[in-house]
């Protein structure tokens, strides 16, 4: 049952959509039009719908989403840059009946934290990763990330990313797809309602995989950073669709929940 259809009783109306329980009321500090906010909302809706708010622990990592512990209305742990998956491991190993997810940017996960996420996947650790790939280090002011596109200008690739300076973009899902410990793995985006709905379905499956103790799950959300892309929010959506999706095609890579049904 979708949280959105739960009637929030007032005198003469039914709620079609109201603010999710699993978000606090703290206004989010993201820049206008940044998809971090959409991603937060989707995760919160999924937590509401699965009825797991009281069992959930969010792991806020270092990036623009570092304050995730203020936004998600659940227990929370703030982890060192890149180490969310190690922290999640520590939590799940001691409290296996919690539901744990890390929320990590591409700098956090694909740069400094690559080893931790890959090893967690290899160990088939039973938690979920929400991976926000916006092709840039947002919080630190727009430097190159491992996922920055070839030719993309950032504050540390002022002439555009080149093979010589920064190498090739790293495709995290394609890497993780080779690892047997992965139970659910998908790449989604949020630049249109249909994508948002797809993304939410994937997030829900990822949590479902965790609830069913199938192992490691990760949903990559190809995201925008209008500020450091130096674009208006809608321009950023277009650039994402035109430029990023060919490097990061949307796909469900692994889905062991299906076998489970």
């Amino acid at each position: 049952m979708s949280r959105a259809t739960v009637p929030d009783s007032t005198d003469d109306t039914t709620a079609v959509y109201t603010y999710p329980d699993s978000l606090t009321e703290v206004p989010m500090r993201y820049c206008p039009g940044c998809t971090h906010g959409i991603a937060h909302r989707l995760v919160a809706e999924v937590i509401d719908e699965l009825g797991i708010q009281e069992r959930t622990v969010v792991i806020a990592t270092v990036g623009c989403s570092v304050y995730a512990y203020e936004y998600f209305n659940t227990d929370a742990v703030q982890a060192a840059h890149g180490r969310g998956p190690a922290v999640a491991t520590g939590i799940k190993r001691t409290q296996p009946d919690t539901l744990v997810f890390t929320y990590q940017g591409d700098g956090d996960l694909a740069s400094i934290g690559l080893a931790e996420v890959m090893h967690a996947a290899a160990r088939a650790e039973n938690f979920t990763v929400i991976f926000i790939n916006n092709a840039v280090f947002g919080m630190t002011q727009g430097q190159m990330a491992p996922t920055t596109l070839m030719g993309q200008k950032t504050t540390t690739t002022p002439r555009g990313r080149t093979l010589q300076q920064g190498g090739h973009p790293l495709n995290i899902c394609e890497l993780l797809a080779t690892i047997p410990g992965v139970a659910y793995l998908a790449r989604e985006t949020m630049t249109a309602p249909k994508y948002v709905l797809r993304a939410k379905r994937s997030i829900k499956k990822a949590f479902q995989a965790q609830m069913d103790e199938l192992g490691f799950s990760l949903v990559e959300l190809v995201s925008t950073c209008p500020t450091w892309w130096r674009m208006k929010p809608l321009e950023a959506f277009k650039w994402l669709e035109d430029e990023m999706l060919s490097q990061y095609p949307l796909q469900v890579f692994v889905d062991k929940t299906e076998q489970n049904d």
Binding site: R29, C31, P32, C64, Q141, T227
Partner: protein, 185 residues
């Protein structure tokens, strides 16, 4: 001579740029100067403040507990910082966003409707220049002409088309300040 000025406003209002231009001007007239900003961690929409200290010789502390001068760009800035102004200090306030009423009567208050003036000279983004102009009118370390020079250094060449607006804003701010010397003193 040691001149300490503290500026505060919302990110995007050009607080930091105003501080840098003042610092640049001071340097260009041969003074020693130190400018330092404090951002809040939000990339946008946060608060911005900066301190500029100007001196004949060594600047000494760039940190100032109770500055003698302030430029406050909006209501929040006034609420957060005005109480730290030194007794007998001088504050230049943007009355467009901060009104005209303040708690303190031991200071000199220059209120300038900077948003209105900025719109009037052609760009709301020149609010910072209006207030800076007002400030310069009240101090002796640098002149409006020095600020104009500094502007040319600090503003990237490709934005020099905005020069006239900025200069107009400066002067209008200065005029407004001269008129506005508060009677609360």
């Amino acid at each position: 001579m040691r001149e300490e000025v503290y500026m505060a406003g919302m990110g995007g209002q050009g607080v930091l740029l105003a501080g840098q231009i003042l610092a640049q001007a001071a340097m260009m007239v041969g003074l020693e100067v130190s400018y330092f900003p404090l951002y809040s961690p939000e990339v946008r929409g946060g608060r911005a403040t900066c301190t500029v200290v100007i001196a004949n010789d060594q600047v000494g502390s760039p940190v100032v507990g109770h500055p003698a001068m302030m430029i406050l760009m909006d209501k929040i800035a006034v609420n957060n910082h005005l109480d730290r102004l030194r007794p007998d200090g001088l504050v230049v306030v943007n009355s467009s966003l901060a009104g005209e009423e303040f708690d303190r009567d031991d200071i000199t208050t220059i209120t300038i409707p900077a948003n209105d003036i900025a719109i009037d000279v052609g760009s709301e983004r020149a609010v910072n220049m209006v207030l800076l102009g007002g400030y310069v009118a009240m101090t002796e370390s640098v002149s409006l002409a020095d600020i104009e020079q500094a502007l040319r250094e600090v503003i990237p060449e490709r934005h020099h088309s905005f020069m006239p607006v900025n200069i107009a804003a400066l002067h209008r701010g200065a005029q407004a300040a001269m008129k506005a010397i508060s009677p609360t003193r």
